[in-house]
Symmetry: C2
Subunit: 300 residues, 2 copies
DNA sequence: TGCAAGCGCTGCAAAAAATGCACCGCGTAT
DNA sequence: ATACGCGGTGCATTTTTTGCAGCGCTTGCA
């Protein structure tokens, strides 16, 4: 869309931090780019950049403008998507920010199902912790967020909330596999493999431990849920995860059991969008599909 | 704003109904305008106009695009307004749709007060009946609406509601001036000067009359509240209006008294904006001023 | 039925705008 | 002191936009 070119160039300058670097990225000369910025500022009525000896930085007016640019671009995408829909074909691009736990099974399944029905739609899946996911929505970087225990919930419109108890994960030979439900102290007796502090599971466990006057001393702390799942088979340790990220297969080498609700509060996996925003058709419909899929899980 | 030129041209074609007429309005040649439309459609990916033998008309895709254009323009105004505000000066333009009753006293006062504090702000005051006012908000034609008894209330976010009983208006020599409050049948005994059906006062009166099994037979029916006010002195008739549109001056040649609430329901004067929209600073602040002014009236 | 009028659209030349190049002044780091 | 990277500017060049003339088409009217 050519009339958005100036906005793209402004964004390039913001990213690059200087006109000369942005000029390289955008395959323009610095002088041409410089003049476009200057012309825009004149039309706009105020400077949008601070000129520093080392380059350019947005001033407050520029920050406000960037919001407008974001809204502008996403709203255009919404219109394009609606227009494509009335021509019968569903086209477009869906970006979703989601917790790591959704990556192994849930998201791939859901995307495949959607794409089978609408091959013209492409996806961006951004892995985000619970803080980042909300920022992603706010900055229009993602249309949807599916995240465990988000923090602020400002500007976050909840489309569906799925309760998810924290599960302990261990190798299937472990004695804990014999109980249907575990107490926190059962787990704390073992070696712990924990996700790092940014994650909701860790947050809930910390809360629960503090309530019992215990503290968590993991032997391994990691950002990778994959590593947690695999490590427990290496050293007979206990990891923690939410069930949507775990396989239901019986013949798996690892087993998992829920923690008692009276020990560790049940977390919520929230599907949401930016409050007040009208999503493109594709994103909106995919959101509905996710709601249906989550409802089905809740019914089990 | 030059990058919005294409949108302006599209809107001109929509208004004019043909490229050639729009070309005159926009001081371009038909060929240049034609090519801009064609180029835009190509970039956009779909035609936005139907080509008829008599000219151009928006197709459904074009209708969707027009929404985007409206949002785009108003959001830019919002940003400009916010930027102006952070430079200390308040600038911008406020458009308000309001009922006719606000024109003689309330709106001029309020605008003068606001402009005394912020001379850089200009106003558009659109006189609209209760149906049109809501359409104005929806189409971004007005930032605010101050309207008596609106109809639908969809997409209408109420900022303040002021109760307004219907008042009867007559020349001060009329015997009714001696009572503090009037019954409906008192008025129906007189010659009636009524606003036309689009207005809330008429609507309330019709409801009240129907409830009593009476019908309204006005000797004069008009869209002009001004005419109503003045006519009652010409023939000793009774008009009806809401108090915010009436002077409180004692020495006036006309008097007015409220109708009993048990006869005619009290209407509401609603201040509102389009639901979900973030107004420019100027409009938002003016809205706050109006709320304060209406609150003060309510306290009396 | 023929004809004028109005419509969208197109080839081509002229006008306008955007771009690239060379270069300036300035502050900073080496 | 010097070299580097920064934003900004004058000028020639390239690209884009515009105006002009004219095409084919449909509609309304004599």
């Amino acid at each position: 869309m050519k009339y958005l070119r100036t906005f793209e160039l402004i964004e390039a300058v913001v990213r690059a931090g200087s006109i000369r670097k942005a000029a390289e990225d955008t395959h323009l000369t610095a002088s041409a780019l410089n003049r476009r910025i200057q012309n825009f500022e004149q039309e706009f009525g105020w400077p949008i950049f601070e000129r520093l000896p080392r380059g350019m930085r947005l001033n407050p007016a520029g920050e406000l403008l960037m919001q407008h640019i974001g809204l502008q671009r996403t709203d255009l995408a919404r219109v394009q998507s609606q227009v494509a829909d009335l021509s019968g074909e569903r086209r477009g691009h869906i970006s979703i920010a989601c917790s790591q736990a959704l990556l192994p099974y849930f998201m791939p399944d859901q995307i495949a199902i959607y794409r089978a029905a609408h091959p013209g739609v492409s996806f961006t899946v951004n892995v985000r912790d619970r803080t980042q996911a909300e920022q992603d929505l706010a900055s229009f970087s993602s249309d949807l967020a599916l995240v465990f225990e988000p923090v602020h919930l400002v500007d976050f419109e909840v489309l569906y909330a799925l309760p998810q108890p924290v599960h302990a994960v261990f190798q299937r030979e472990n004695a804990m596999a014999r109980k249907p439900e575990l107490r926190l102290h059962d787990c704390l007796a073992h070696k712990l493999v924990l996700p790092s502090a940014a994650y909701g599971v860790r947050h809930l466990l910390e809360l629960a431990a503090a309530r019992k006057g215990r503290s968590l001393a993991p032997i391994v702390e990691t950002e990778s849920f994959d590593l947690i799942r695999h490590y427990v088979t290496c050293e007979d340790a206990v990891g923690f995860q939410i069930p949507i990220g775990l396989s239901a297969e019986k013949q798996d080498t690892i087993a998992h059991r829920p923690l008692a609700e009276r020990d560790v509060p049940v977390g919520r996996l929230l599907l949401g969008q930016k409050k007040g925003r009208t999503l493109p058709v594709a994103s909106s419909k995919f959101g509905q599909q996710l709601v249906a899929a989550l409802e089905q899980r809740a019914a089990h």
